[in-house]
Each structure stands twice: as structure tokens, then as C-alpha cells.
């Protein structure tokens, strides 16, 4: 036997004997061996330690590769059921795993989804846990431009999967090419993508992997972002994962900081949008990558991208002169668009646009011919902008020249303001990012929720932003709005109150910042049912806008409408009408047929409808629908809202069932298409449609729709949502109309209970609920119980809505009917009079 072989045999022998001995005996054995062969003894000791620490590593490896083996045979998975989803067929296969088309296996209605089976090793066990924790935040990301995360879990073999909204579309670059979209349309499309990204950023979610393959455009032209926030969970956290995480990126669209493995913030998404814009405007990548591995990565970190206008003109092969088309496009890109794209693509995150909203705003300005931010504030530049915007005016000569001087003074002042603004925005942004993107947002392996991060931010403000009250005001407003976005209004209000006080101290009482803080405060108070408390801030915000802009300005119109909604909520319908009419006359004078004008028309119609002026309501609502359709040109949630409101007005006023049904069906289809099947707004449409059918004397179909709406109860439609109480009541009323008051009673009681739990005492809907429940008890001849509820309900409605309101009269009619059945004709007659129109 060779010497190494003999040594190995002695090691085996020593290890075997030590293994079988008790601790003391083992020590003695090792000590004795160490006397003659210290190396051998040490190795045996190491192996014994490894033996102790063996946590099933081999089994783990075998099992995980075994799972991978399974995941590599996707075709075998079709037909399998995962949770509520049945896999139909594989539709894609990528590095992360396999994507299946799936349908809901447990639902009455057809619902499709995309299920991604994640390959083992893509999600580490730890990041899977975190992903589960954050799934709710991702699932709450409800925006028409974002494919929603619906569900997720693990197969029995332990293969993780995600269920996403299924998007039938093509990547945005292919879409733009296939439809031969103009430059303007391409920019408009990118702005819509920006909206969706900005929405997610407001919910503190960064996409991290924006690229054409993740931005699909549907047949109707709606861009949809896939895989929001998921890139974060890929390959992070584990030892050596930085490297793996890096490689999971698509280098062309990854920002320099992502490639370097530095912290990723919202600025990284701004960068990726810049690459997207570059590609859509020029058809090229911003970088000319060197050959070989790491070429693109190096280019992204080091190369200055050429101007888009240069890139399109240059690229003719063989040194041929650019085509006329290329020259035309190059001229079109030169200037603003070059500047905008390059600003988004800056290597240093802090030198890019401070937010996606700013990038989008600059694109809007460019399309509108206004000066863009992405440029030094040179006077010549602004003057040239001004002249091109007001070309006609300048031709008028001296008068125009004077106007130009005044306008320049104004725009120079606002340029200085814009610079201050930008600095502050960066600081605010930086602070929020620092808190939320702190190196270890995960403590003790536990996810820090958005709420915790906000609380942490709240605690740090005092110490870290001392002496910077302007920044503190901005941060607190952001915090307040985010709390409000989470529905936690009682947390939101103190931040907003504080932000308002700081803004007043810094800027004085008549500044736009103060007005914005007032807007936010009014909105939060209205949302929490404190319309009375919302009125003062809404009025002050309006006064500031009038002072700053004069009467005829869209900002003033928007402020009037905001005040109008507060007054409507408060129940002061006359004042609400006056406010909305003021707003409308401003929009009409400006000729601004915008989304803001449609909102005003809609709110005015609702106010008039509440007051019983249905003719006026119908006219304004028709105009609202016309305006909003012209604004969007395609399916959009706001168009659907305008339709359902018009449907209810048409029905209430003219009992035109066929037009109302047509509008409801169109709105329902549009909402499902744009928002998905489980969105609360879909439930609302079902409810409103059902309500109309009940009134039209079709309680069977109406009940079906109410129950369909109720089937959406759950995470996205909690019982505190007003639709739930309403739909329960509708289902109960349908039961009654179908001659089943006993079946109706539990539904009506539950309706009243959920409303009482979520609405302020004294709300007219509680009175309405009492009245309807009373009617149900009267039908069961439980008269005394019924009387108490019916009287209380009728009285409450008279108090809240007035004696002349249709609902008040309806409730009085129910009281009259009670006394008729009870054999008390005198009281019946008196209440019958109150009920007659």
C-alpha cells in the first residue's frame, strides 16, 4: 500500500473509533493520535466537526436538482391545477422558468391568467419568504397600466409559482413598429408607461427590470407593465448572490448602478425608461457594445450615449448619406428630445430626472411646445420657445415685443423657482429613498412593511431634516399621501397638518406649496368622512389659486371642483352646484376640453341628480362622456365611469332601459378589459346595473348581478368597501321582490351591520338600510319591530336628503304600507301624503 493510502486508512480508523466513543474517550483518542501524527488528528477532528454540522446538505442538493429536473419538463404540466388555477398550455419559456396560460378552475366566469413556474435556485428560500410577505403590497398595485399579481404559492414539489394577470399584447417596440407609430404617438405611449411606473413608485415599489419584453401593448393600445417589483427577489441576499442578481438583469436596459451592484432606487427606473425612449425614438440602442463578454456592461457604465438625433442620421452603412427620412427624423429629435433622453440616461442617478413624473412632464411640455426642464435656462432658449409658441402674436409688432419682455421676466423667475424646486424634490426624494432603500430593509429576516418604513421615516424626520423645513414639509406631505394611499387616514392627517404648518412658515400663506398641502388635507378629510373639516382647507386652496392665477385658469377651475366635491359630500348641494358651475365656466372660457373639464361636468351632473334635476344631470353627463372619450380615444377607467353615471341618469330620468343597459354592458366590458375581473370598480358596475334591473322589474337578473358583485368580496373588496353593504341590500330587496322576505332578512341585516361598522353615524345610507329592513319585517307581519325601523329610517332620510327627495318619499311610502297592512288607516293616509310626489 502506498503511503497516502495507508494514511487514509489510519484516518478512517481513527474517525470510526472516535465516532463510536463518548466525548471523554474521543478526546483521549484524538490526543493520543496527535502525539504521533498531529496533522492526521487535526483532520479527524475537522471531519468530526463536519459530521456534527451536517444538516442534510447532500439530501438538499439532490432534492433541489431533482426539482429542477421536473421543472424542465413543462409540457407535462398542462392540465395540472395549482390552487384555484388550472394550467392550460405553456406560452413562454425563459431563464426564470416556464410561463403557462391558466384559467380559473373554480369560477363561474371565464378568467385567464399567466402562471410563472419559477425554477429552483432563482428564488432563494429566504427571498421566497420575503416575496410572500411583500406579495400583498404588489397585489395592491392596481393600475390600468400594470399587469396585476393575482396569486402565488408553491407546488407540492416545492416549485414556487406566481399568478399574474394575463396580458394579450406585444412588446412595446414591436407594437410601435407594427403600427408604424409617429414620433408623437411613441412619446405619448411612453408617457402612459411613465404613469404606471410613477403610480408604483408612489406605492414605494421600484420595477427594476423595465424593458420592451416587460411592457406589452394590448390590441386597444393600452400599455401594460409586467413583473413589477419582482426583479428585486431574484437572486438577492444569498452569499454570492450579488453576482447572480447582476446576471439576471438585461444589461442593455440596466442602469450603471444596477450593473455595479449598488443600491437600486426609483432613479434606476428613470434610467431604464430613458433607454426605452431612446430605442423607440431611434430604433437603436444608446450604446455600441464592444465585442465579447461584458461588452454591454462596460458600455453602460462608461460610454456616453450619442445624441438620438446623431444616432439616427449616422447609421447608414457603407458611409452612404442619410436618407431624407433619417434627416427629417434627426431634425425632429434635435434639441428637446436629445436633451430629455440624455438627462434620463445620465450615469449619476442624482443628475437624472428626480422622478418619473418629471420625465413624463418634460415629454408633455415638449409635445405641447412648452419649454422643457432638460436644458440650461438660457434666455435665448426660452425666448426662442416663446416665439415659436406665440408666433402669431409676435408678428403683431411692438405690442408683442412688450409682451415678450414681460413673459421672459416671468419665465426667468419661474426658472429660478424651478431650480429651487428641483433641488428640493431631489432632497425629498433622497430622504424617502434613504429610508425605504436602507441597506438592510429586512431586519431579523423579517420584511419591513411599507407601514413600518413610513413609521421609521416619520421618526427620522425630526433629527435628519432639522433646519430644512422646506424639505421636511415635502417629506411629510409625501408620507401623508402615502398613508392615505394605504387607506390609513388617521395616520395621514397629522403628517399633512404638520406639512401645512411648515409650508406656511417657509413660503408664506399664499404660496402654491401651501395650496398643495391644503389640497391633500382636504382630500384626506373628505375620504375619512370629515367633509365639514375639509371645507376650510379646500376654500383656502381655492383662494390661493385665485390670488396667484386670476380667475381664468385651469388650476382655479380644478380648485373650484375640489371644493364642489367637498360640499357635495357635506350635503350642501346648492353650494356644490355653484362651485362646479364656476369651474365649468372657466373651462368653457379657456376652451380647455380636458380630463379636468370632464370631471367637473361629471361632478355637476351628480350634484344636479342628487338634487333631483335629472334633465340637467343627463345633459351634463352626456357632455362629460363626450369630452372624456375625446381625451382618451380608447378604453379607459374614466370613460367607463362616465358611462355608468350616464346610464344611471338616463334610467332615473327617462326609464330608457335599452340605452341604460347598453351603457352598463359597454362599461362593464371596458372595466373588465382595463382593470381585470376582480377590480372593485367591476363590482360597482355590476351593482349599479343590477339596481337598474331591479327597478325595471327584473329582480331575478338583478339578484344574479348583485351576487356576482358579492362574489368579489375578499382582499381587494373588503367589507368596509361601500359596495358590499349596497350589494347585500340590493340582493335582499330582490329576494323580497321575488316574494321571499324571510330569505331577504339575513341579507338586509348583514348589509346594515357592515354599513354600521364602516360609516359614520347619521349617514343617510344607514337610514335607508333601516327603512328597507323595516319593510322586510312588515312583509313578515312583525309590525312593532318593523314600525321602529321604518320610522327611524324615514326620519333620518328626511333630515339628510330633504322631504322632497325621491328616497325620502320612497321611505314614507313604506311607512304608509306598514300601517295599511297593520290596519291603521289614519296613519297610513298621513304617511301616504308625505310619499306622494
Amino acid at each position: 500500500m502506498s503511503a497516502p493510502r495507508e494514511r487514509w486508512e489510519r484516518l478512517k480508523d481513527l474517525f470510526g473509533r472516535a465516532l463510536e466513543s463518548g466525548p471523554a474517550e474521543r478526546e483521549a483518542l484524538l490526543a493520543e493520535a496527535a502525539g504521533s501524527e498531529p496533522d492526521l488528528a487535526q483532520e479527524a477532528r475537522d471531519l468530526l466537526v463536519a459530521h456534527e454540522n451536517d444538516g442534510g446538505l447532500l439530501e438538499e442538493i439532490m432534492l433541489s436538482e431533482g426539482r429542477g429536473l421536473l421543472a424542465s419538463a413543462p409540457e407535462a404540466l398542462a392540465g395540472r391545477r395549482l390552487g384555484a388555477w388550472e394550467l392550460v398550455a405553456p406560452i413562454g419559456h425563459g431563464g426564470m422558468g416556464t410561463v403557462f396560460l391558466a384559467r380559473r378552475a373554480d369560477a363561474a366566469y371565464e378568467s385567464l391568467a399567466a402562471v410563472k413556474l419559477v425554477r429552483p435556485g432563482i428564488f432563494s428560500a429566504e427571498s421566497l419568504l420575503r416575496f410572500r410577505a411583500e406579495r400583498q403590497a404588489l397585489a395592491n398595485l392596481n393600475h390600468p397600466g400594470t399587469a396585476r399579481l393575482l396569486d402565488g404559492g408553491s407546488t407540492p414539489e416545492g416549485v414556487p409559482y406566481l399568478v399574474m394577470e394575463y396580458v394579450d399584447g406585444v412588446p412595446i417596440d414591436e407594437y410601435a413598429g407594427a403600427h408604424n407609430l409617429s414620433l408623437e404617438k411613441r412619446i405619448a405611449l411612453v408617457r402612459e408607461v411613465c404613469d404606471a411606473v410613477a403610480f408604483a413608485h408612489r406605492h414605494l415599489i421600484v420595477h427594476r427590470d423595465l424593458k420592451p419584453a416587460n411592457i406589452l401593448v394590448t390590441e386597444s393600445g393600452q400599455p401594460k407593465l409586467l413583473d413589477f417589483g419582482i426583479a428585486k427577489f431574484l437572486g438577492d441576499s444569498e452569499p454570492g448572490a450579488t453576482r447572480a442578481g447582476e446576471r439576471l438583469l438585461t444589461p442593455e436596459y440596466a442602469s450603471p448602478e444596477q450593473i455595479r451592484g449598488e443600491p437600486v432606487t426609483t432613479a434606476s427606473d428613470v434610467y431604464s425608461l430613458g433607454v426605452l425612449l431612446y430605442r423607440l425614438l431611434t430604433g437603436r440602442s444608446p450604446y455600441r457594445a464592444a465585442e465579447g463578454a461584458g461588452g454591454i456592461e462596460k458600455a453602460v457604465c462608461e460610454q456616453q450615449p450619442s445624441r438620438p438625433s446623431t444616432a439616427v442620421a449616422r447609421d447608414e452603412p457603407d458611409g452612404e448619406p442619410p436618407t431624407p427620412e433619417a434627416s427629417r427624423r434627426s431634425r425632429r429629435l434635435r434639441g428637446d428630445l436629445d436633451n430629455i433622453v440624455l438627462k434620463a440616461l445620465r450615469k449619476e442617478p442624482e443628475r437624472r430626472y428626480a422622478s418619473v413624473g418629471e420625465l413624463s412632464e418634460d415629454l408633455r411640455r415638449h409635445l405641447a411646445g412648452e419649454p422643457v426642464m432638460a436644458r440650461g435656462d438660457s434666455v435665448g432658449y426660452r425666448a426662442s420657445k416663446f416665439v415659436s409658441r406665440h408666433r402669431v402674436g409676435t408678428l403683431l409688432g411692438a405690442l408683442a415685443a412688450a409682451a415678450l419682455v414681460v413673459a421672459l421676466a416671468v419665465s426667468l423667475r419661474s426658472a429660478a423657482a424651478a431650480r429651487r424646486e428641483a433641488r428640493k424634490a431631489e432632497q425629498i426624494h433622497g430622504f424617502v429613498q434613504a429610508v425605504l432603500g436602507a441597506p438592510s430593509p429586512w431586519r431579523d429576516g423579517r420584511q419591513v412593511t411599507v407601514a413600518e418604513a413610513l413609521e421609521r421615516a416619520g421618526r427620522r424626520i425630526g433629527s435628519e431634516l432639522a433646519g430644512q423645513p422646506d424639505v421636511e414639509a415635502g417629506v411629510r406631505r409625501t408620507l401623508g399621501e402615502t398613508w392615505a394611499g394605504l387607506g390609513l387616514y388617521d395616520r395621514a392627517e397629522p403628517e399633512l397638518v404638520r406639512s401645512l404648518a411648515l409650508s406656511r412658515a417657509v413660503y408664506g400663506d399664499d404660496h402654491e406649496e401651501v395650496a398643495r398641502a391644503l389640497d391633500a388635507l382636504a382630500q384626506v378629510r373628505t375620504s375619512r368622512g370629515d367633509a365639514a373639516g375639509a371645507e376650510a382647507p379646500a376654500r383656502e386652496a381655492l383662494a390661493i389659486r385665485r390670488e396667484r392665477h386670476g380667475e381664468e385658469h385651469t388650476a382655479v377651475a380644478a380648485a373650484w371642483t375640489a371644493l364642489g366635491s367637498v360640499l357635495q359630500e357635506k350635503g350642501d348641494y346648492l353650494a356644490a352646484e355653484a362651485a362646479h358651475r364656476n369651474a365649468l365656466s372657466i373651462y368653457r372660457a379657456l376652451g380647455a376640453r380636458t380630463a379636468g373639464m370632464a370631471e367637473t361636468l361629471n361632478d355637476l351632473a351628480v350634484t344636479l341628480g342628487t338634487r333631483g334635476d335629472l334633465r340637467g344631470a343627463e345633459a351634463y353627463q352626456r357632455e362629460a362622456l363626450e369630452v372624456i372619450r375625446a381625451v382618451y380615444h380608447r378604453p379607459h377607467p374614466d370613460v367607463a365611469s362616465a358611462m355608468t353615471t350616464l346610464a344611471s341618469v338616463v334610467w332615473d330620468r327617462r326609464r330608457d332601459r335599452s340605452e341604460a343597459e347598453r351603457l352598463y354592458r359597454e362599461a362593464l366590458a371596458m372595466r373588465r378589459e382595463v382593470l381585470g375581473d376582480r377590480h372593485p370598480d367591476v363590482a360597482w358596475t355590476l351593482y349599479n346595473y343590477g339596481y337598474m334591473l331591479m327597478e325595471a322589474g327584473d329582480p331575478a337578473r338583478a339578484e344574479g348581478l348583485a351576487r356576482e358583485a358579492l362574489s368579489l368580496r375578499g382582499a381587494t373588496l373588503p367589507d368596509s368597501h361601500p359596495m358590499v353593504g349596497a350589494a347585500l341590500q340590493l340582493a335582499g330587496r330582490c329576494r323580497m321582490a321575488r316574494g321571499d322576505p324571510r330569505g331577504a332578512e339575513p341579507l338586509l341585516r348583514e348589509s346594515l351591520a357592515v354599513r354600521r361598522a364602516s360609516m359614520p353615524a347619521g349617514h343617510w345610507l344607514l337610514s335607508s338600510g333601516e327603512s328597507v329592513l323595516g319593510e322586510c319585517l312588515a312583509a313578515q307581519r312583525r309590525f312593532p319591530e318593523a314600525e321602529r325601523l321604518l320610522l327611524s329610517g324615514a326620519e333620518g332620510l328626511r333630515e339628510k336628503l330633504g322631504a322632497e327627495h325621491a328616497r325620502t318619499k320612497e321611505a314614507a311610502g313604506r311607512v304608509a304600507a306598514l300601517y295599511m297592512s297593520w290596519g291603521r288607516p289614519g296613519e297610513a293616509k298621513r304617511w301616504g301624503e308625505a310619499a306622494s310626489p
Partner: protein, 181 residues
């Protein structure tokens, strides 16, 4: 590879089994795909289960005797190890390609999951261990890949159960040390 048994009949049977290698490979792959589609709630994919299932199938087809079962399993464990390694290598290669998909999470992305690295690392560690002591590697394959009992393993190797236990503990400790170093 050292002979595992000196008796003539065992050698014959071993030669017969060797001829079955390609078939065992196919069978294990087929079973792996099938296991994925099976609607078995309690199912956990384990190499041991696959190896045993492959035995049951092939024993039926080829009329293998019960006595050849341990030898078959020992062989299938080696094949299984091969499959795992091939699969890990294929995945490493695939990452360099990467297809475009309509609904993608990380299209064209690289993928180097820890588990493939681990399987390849384990395979390399087993090769190093084999250079030192072939029998320990056989023990690992039989015990942990094929899930054979101590007694079955001892029978195939022609050693005592105590030796299998000691070798098994030593091999695991040695591999753990190699893989976590």
C-alpha cells in the same frame, strides 16, 4: 471500478445490468417528467423514489431476479447521479442562449442558481473522493441517491454493516467539509 463481488453468478448478473445502462437512463428521465405531471398531493420529487420506480419497471420488462435488486439500485444510483449532473450542465449552457417570450420575467437572462452549482460541486467532490477511496463514493450513491438500506449496501459491497455506517458518516463529513470550505 473495482469488482463488487467475486462470485461468478454475481459477475454475470452485473454484466447483464451494465448492458441495461442506457435503458435505465431513459427510464429515469421518463419517470422524472411523469412525476411532474402526476396529480399526487403527497408527492415530493426524490431521486430515491425515481430509482426505485425505475427498478420496478425494468425488473418487470427484463425479468430481473429479486437478488439482482441491490445491484440494480447501485447501478441506477450512478445513472441518476449522471442525469442530475447532465441536467445541471444543460442549465448552465442554456443560460447563455435564452429565448424571448411574450410573458417573461427575465427574458434572455442568465441563470446560475445555487443548486446547479451545488450539484456540479458535489459531483466534483465525489470525483476527488473516488480518487481517494472509491468505496466511499459507492456508499454515498447507494445510500443517498438510491436510498438503499445499510444492509442492502453492505450486501452489494460485501462488507459489514458497521463498515457501511462508518464509511457513510465519513463520506458525508468529508463532502460537507469540501462543499462548505
Amino acid at each position: 471500478m473495482s469488482p463488487i463481488d467475486s462470485s461468478d453468478s454475481a459477475r454475470t448478473s452485473r454484466a447483464r445490468l451494465d448492458a441495461l445502462m442506457p435503458e435505465i437512463y431513459q427510464e429515469l428521465r421518463r419517470l422524472a417528467s411523469k412525476a411532474m405531471s402526476a396529480e399526487r398531493r403527497d408527492h415530493t420529487l426524490q431521486t430515491t423514489a425515481l430509482v426505485h420506480e425505475a427498478y420496478l419497471h425494468l425488473a418487470g420488462v427484463h425479468g430481473l431476479s429479486v437478488e439482482s435488486r441491490p445491484a440494480f439500485l447501485a447501478l441506477a444510483a450512478q445513472v441518476m447521479r449522471r442525469i442530475l449532473v447532465d441536467h445541471a450542465r444543460a442549465r448552465m449552457a442554456e443560460k447563455r442562449g435564452g429565448e424571448r417570450t411574450r410573458v417573461t420575467l427575465a427574458e434572455g437572462v442568465a441563470e446560475t442558481p445555487a443548486s446547479s452549482l451545488d450539484v456540479l460541486a458535489l459531483d466534483e467532490a465525489l470525483e476527488r473522493l473516488a480518487a481517494q477511496d472509491e468505496q466511499l463514493v459507492r456508499v454515498v450513491e447507494m445510500r443517498f441517491v438510491a436510498g438503499m438500506s445499510v444492509e442492502e449496501t453492505a450486501g452489494v459491497l460485501g462488507v459489514s454493516s458497521a463498515t457501511v455506517k462508518r464509511d457513510s458518516a465519513l463520506a458525508r463529513a468529508w463532502l460537507t467539509r469540501e462543499l462548505t470550505a
